[in-house]
């Protein structure tokens, strides 16, 4: 019997939602596991780092790595898995673009530790303990990974072959990707394994979008009861569909919620936030300075809105730190 193809799943700075996307394969996962041998999957199976180290370089057919890179351990694991794998797939927004954890690039390490371990109202920490990378205790020195100042995308750390976008990716995209990789008929390196069209193209509300959109104000989802069929942008909701890659089938817009942009840009766009900002600003109706500013007040947090999933992958990458 010939050996089955080895596949690894790993997670770095992420929430576990991408693991759900793999579990969402449901019965299909049995077909996948019949075709491959899973050699690492911390969320579900008990393999250790030394098991991976024992595999010869290039011995894994594909690693699906979700999560951004923001600690020494994550960086080490990314390098190790890259060395052992023929194909490295960035799975999900965090790995591809930085994702929600990437918004930490608006602060730095010390500000984050301060807020989490001392500042937050629900924290009781009278001794002001914060994580240490090493601690001496009775002759032993246990260690912890170090948190970096800056969150990075996977491809800012190691060479990446393919990307599967989404927060979390649709199960169908994961399945298609696994099938593509096993078929041996590989797309060009760097391909994002999702359609290269804007979400509007597959949105069920597409036909209700007016030819010329002109907005007098931006509304937030809790402020209106949205019409379940009409284009959400036309209703004044800040929907990022025009700037975002499709592939999810309009999960949010079908649920009466605007797109927040988790599938990231299409292949023609370098900086997702810059392009999303352009799309939204252009359809404001107002023409003079004061009126424009009044409409824009409806977007209280531009970075959190337009770079929600992609700050580390943006041109500026992070907020400028004070010297």
């Amino acid at each position: 019997m010939s050996e089955k193809a080895k596949v690894a799943f790993y997670w770095c700075a992420s929430c576990g939602g991408c693991e759900e996307a793999v579990v969402d394969l449901a019965e299909k996962i049995l077909e996948v596991s019949a075709a491959v041998e899973i050699v690492l999957w911390p969320v579900a199976l008990d393999f250790k780092r030394k098991d991976i180290e024992a595999i010869p370089d290039g011995g894994i057919v594909a690693t699906f790595l979700n999560g951004a890179i923001r600690s020494t351990e994550q960086e080490e694991m990314a390098h190790l898995l890259r060395r052992k794998s023929k194909v490295m797939v960035a799975l999900g927004s965090c790995s591809q673009l930085g994702g929600i954890p990437g918004l930490a690039n608006l602060w730095d390490r010390s500000a984050i530790l301060e807020a989490v371990y001392k500042g937050s109202p629900s924290t009781v920490n009278p001794e002001g303990t914060t994580p240490q990378t090493a601690y001496k205790d009775n002759g032993r020195t246990p260690t912890l990974p170090m948190l970096y100042n800056t969150v990075r995308t996977l491809d800012q750390v190691v060479d990446v072959d393919y990307y599967i976008p989404g927060c979390a990716p649709a199960a169908k995209l994961v399945l298609d990707a696994v099938e593509t990789l096993l078929s041996g008929n590989l797309p060009p390196k760097g391909t994002v394994l999702a359609p290269d069209r804007a979400l509007c193209d597959e949105c069920p509300r597409r036909d209700t979008r007016p030819d010329k959109l002109e907005l007098a104000e931006f509304k937030r989802p809790h402020q209106i009861i949205a019409d379940p069929e009409k284009c959400l942008l036309a209703q004044g909701l800040l929907c990022l569909g025009p700037a975002t890659r499709g592939g999810c089938g309009g999960l949010c817009t079908k649920g009466n919620m605007p797109c927040t942009g988790c599938y990231g840009p299409t292949s023609r766009v370098r900086d997702y936030g810059g392009k999303a900002l352009t799309a939204l600003a252009s359809i404001i109706e107002a023409k003079d300075d004061t009126d424009i500013e009044k409409v824009l007040a409806g977007i209280p947090d531009p970075v959190g809105t337009f770079y929600r999933y992609s700050l580390p992958a943006s041109l500026l990458k992070r907020k400028t730190l004070e010297a």
Partner: protein
């Protein structure tokens, strides 16, 4: 601040108004600060925020966009689009730690050569006062350094 600090300004001037104004300033032999690198675009509305972000990412100290006065756009609406993007982008840049004075939009018609001079001189003066841009440190703290803190 390093001695002889000269701010670098990337200027996007529209083909129909501000670029001609800069040309007029030149043919009228007006002198103004030599800190701008002018890029001619067909319309201020052609300035994609990605251009501005890239200029800042590559180390520009300031970005100046020049277009036709409201109502005078050669393409009717382009400068209004530029104006809306400008306000949103400016707030985005502020959130990213880039000072407000570093990004500017001005309406300068083809006849206003002297206004090119005033605007550029004024911007250079303000950027000199701000000093060089703080760039993002790529350096992460060393393990020992963190352990000691």
């Amino acid at each position: 601040m390093p001695e002889n600090y000269e701010p670098k300004i990337v200027a996007f001037f529209c083909n129909w108004c501000t670029y001609l104004a800069a040309d007029l300033a030149g043919t009228s032999r007006m002198k103004y600060a030599a800190n701008t690198r002018v890029i001619r675009v067909m319309c201020s509305g052609r300035v994609d925020p990605q251009f501005v972000l890239e200029a800042f990412a590559k180390g520009a100290d300031g970005v100046l966009i020049g277009g036709c006065h409201p109502g005078d756009c050669h393409y009717q609406e382009g400068n209004y689009k530029a104006l809306r993007r400008y306000y949103l982008l400016k707030r985005t840049l502020r959130e990213m730690g880039i000072e407000e004075e570093r990004f500017r939009l001005e309406w300068i018609s083809a006849a206003e050569g002297d206004r090119v001079r005033t605007v550029v001189n004024d911007m250079v003066q303000k950027l000199r006062a701000l000093g060089p841009r703080k760039m993002n440190p790529a350096i992460e703290p060393e393990l020992e350094e963190v352990a000691a803190s």
